[in-house]
């Protein structure tokens, strides 16, 4: 067993994959915490679909320019499309709150359809997109790793450094505006960071499952905590552990890493949601949450 783990860790492919998984596992839940707080859990999905069009566009430009490999521009294309898509959603949300939902739906459909159409225009087949849709750790190159590390560092630095301000604008936008916070800049920063996170995680879990990695660790964490900061910290730890364990499992079982990671995350969620009420009851039995409040009703005794 131990030898096999050492074998795994000495495979360059797995080394790169595990490093990517480590970074994705740490970054995705940070942005996920803000998205869940804003009740925009599905934003990551919308961005992921748009990023697919970006991948296809990168492919098209690459084949027109005769680049080898053809998909050399896939990641830059995904980053650009994801950022444009995320900012568009944010602007639509700010203009009229009711149509944000519809805008998201349009992005879902348009993103996938555009991606397939463009990849066929580029002389490819929609199966070329599979690696991006479901992730493929085997395509992670050292250059990819450097880009991933840079994007992850930016998101982590801003996402953690501006935590109080990003929390304030996600928790109560009206109060944040009344406080004089640059609300629009912060909102767009969250959208752009979410877009960068999606493209960072694309290689590991795939665009269709990126959002799960942002949301499920947060969903697990908030079962066990009562504070925003602790939710974020616990979600980061869970994200790292689940990504690394899930990816490692694919060394022994031939399976798609993205699918394994997400199924593992949901299994952990199920376990914790079953265990949390039991643990909580043992720690503090149900009690009056406001024992010191005086009653404001006088009951006459007869």
């Amino acid at each position: 067993m131990w030898n096999e783990i050492v074998d795994m860790l000495s495979t360059p492919l797995m080394q790169r994959g595990l490093l990517a998984a480590l970074m994705v596992g740490a970054v995705a839940p940070v942005m996920g915490t803000y998205l869940v707080q804003r009740k925009l859990s599905l934003l990551g999905d919308g961005i992921g679909h748009v990023a697919l069009t970006g991948v296809a566009l990168g492919w098209l430009v690459g084949s027109v320019m005769g680049l080898v490999p053809q998909d050399a521009l896939a990641i830059p294309g995904a980053v650009i499309a994801a950022v444009i898509g995320a900012v568009t959603i944010e602007v639509v949300r700010e203009r009229g709150r009711t149509s944000g939902d519809v805008a998201l739906a349009l992005l879902f459909y348009g993103g996938i359809a555009g991606g397939v159409l463009i990849i066929e225009l580029a002389g490819g087949q929609s199966s070329n997109l599979m690696a991006y849709l479901f992730g493929s750790i085997s395509v992670v190159t050292t250059a990819d790793l450097v880009v991933t590390a840079a994007l992850a560092a930016v998101v982590l630095a801003l996402g953690l450094g501006l935590r109080t301000a990003l929390f304030a604008v996600s928790q109560d936008e009206e109060f944040a505006r009344a406080s004089g916070l640059p609300v629009r800049v912060l909102n767009i920063a969250i959208a752009v960071m979410a877009a960068l996170t999606v493209t960072v995680a694309m290689r590991v879990v795939g665009l269709l499952l990126v959002s799960a990695l942002m949301i499920v660790p947060v969903a697990i964490a908030q079962l066990t905590t009562s504070s925003f900061v602790r939710t974020m910290r616990v979600a980061m730890v869970l994200g790292i552990v689940i990504c690394v364990v899930g990816l490692s499992a694919t060394y022994w079982f031939a399976a798609s890493p993205g699918a394994v990671i997400v199924v593992l995350a949901i299994a952990v969620y199920a376990l914790v949601s079953l265990a949390a009420p039991v643990v909580r009851r043992r720690r503090s039995p149900a009690r009056d949450p406001h024992p010191d409040l005086p009653s404001d009703v006088v009951l006459e005794e007869r």
């Binding site: 004089g180 916070l181 640059p182 949450p289």
Partner: protein, 276 residues
């Protein structure tokens, strides 16, 4: 847009404010195609405690929300602390208590985290070093010592309201805008809250309070503004409460014949019992 540019020629927080804290001229606000506020003009001087009264739909909350830029102004001007609404208003000197919204976001948050967001401002995107002491002090000031670590969803409605007030006070504002701070708050909490506001007024803070009924705040109000259908219909000395309404324990749950016959707001010597 340029929310970050805020240099106040009036000086920093703590300086006495000269003249008008708030100047509103012919303000109009449209929402969803309907004109909610018409030609609202209002001056508030330093140290005043102004109650804004009116029925539901009279535009009280819209006025407050327009002042903090939560809704756009269609016509007219508003100046806060000497600056027209915008990035140059010293927002760090203004405390805003919105009408109670659900404090429950998608992620749990503690009372301390909610109140700490009140420490941020135009040029402050990170908490100051002494944030924890200031937040705990603000929570103690509104009568909630020791709840800092509690999830806000564990707190009662009245306690959540006081968390929102602590969030506005922690920044040590010179002008506090409160939108129905007493709604849904039980009487003991209302009295405690009135004491908090009284201490603020004694230290020179200006208050503009949207209310349905004066309750325990009655004796500190220096001026009353009544809105009806989006227009100012009264701006002057505090209205005398109707018989029985001066008792803080007065129940507002019975029907008022006067109020029903004359419409929800009655002026002059009659009760202005806005809500039944």
């Amino acid at each position: 847009m340029a929310d970050t540019s805020a240099a106040s020629p009036l000086g920093d927080a703590g300086d006495p404010v000269a003249g008008d804290v708030l100047r509103v001229r012919d303000l109009a606000v449209d929402l969803g195609g309907a004109r909610i506020l018409h030609d609202v003009s209002l001056d508030v001087r330093s140290g005043e405690v102004v109650a804004v009264l009116g029925t539901n739909g009279s535009g009280k909350s819209t006025l407050m929300r327009a002042l903090v830029r939560a809704v756009p102004v269609a016509a007219g001007q508003a100046e806060i602390l000497g600056h027209p609404l915008g990035g140059r208003v010293p927002w760090h000197r203004i405390g805003y208590v919105p009408q109670r919204v659900s404090l429950a976001g998608g992620v749990p948050a503690t009372a301390r985290e909610i109140v700490a967001s009140g420490l941020l401002g135009p040029r402050r995107l990170r908490r100051p070093r002494d944030w924890r002491d200031r937040v705990d002090q603000a929570l103690a000031d509104v009568g909630l010592p020791g709840v800092g670590d509690h999830a806000v969803t564990e707190l009662s409605g009245g306690q959540q309201q006081r968390v929102l007030i602590a969030r506005a006070l922690v920044r040590r504002p010179d002008l506090v805008l409160l939108d129905e701070p007493l709604a849904g708050v039980d009487l003991p909490s209302q009295v405690a809250f009135a004491d908090t506001l009284r201490a603020l007024v004694a230290s020179g803070v200006t208050l503009v309070v949207v209310l349905h009924e004066l309750g325990p705040l009655a004796d500190m109000i220096t001026r009353t503004v009544v809105l009806r259908h989006g227009r100012v219909v009264h701006d002057g000395p505090p209205l005398a409460p109707a018989h029985g309404h001066d008792d803080p324990a007065h129940e507002h749950l019975h029907a008022h014949e006067d109020a029903v016959e004359r419409g929800p707001v009655s002026l002059g010597p009659e009760p202005f019992c806005a809500e039944i």
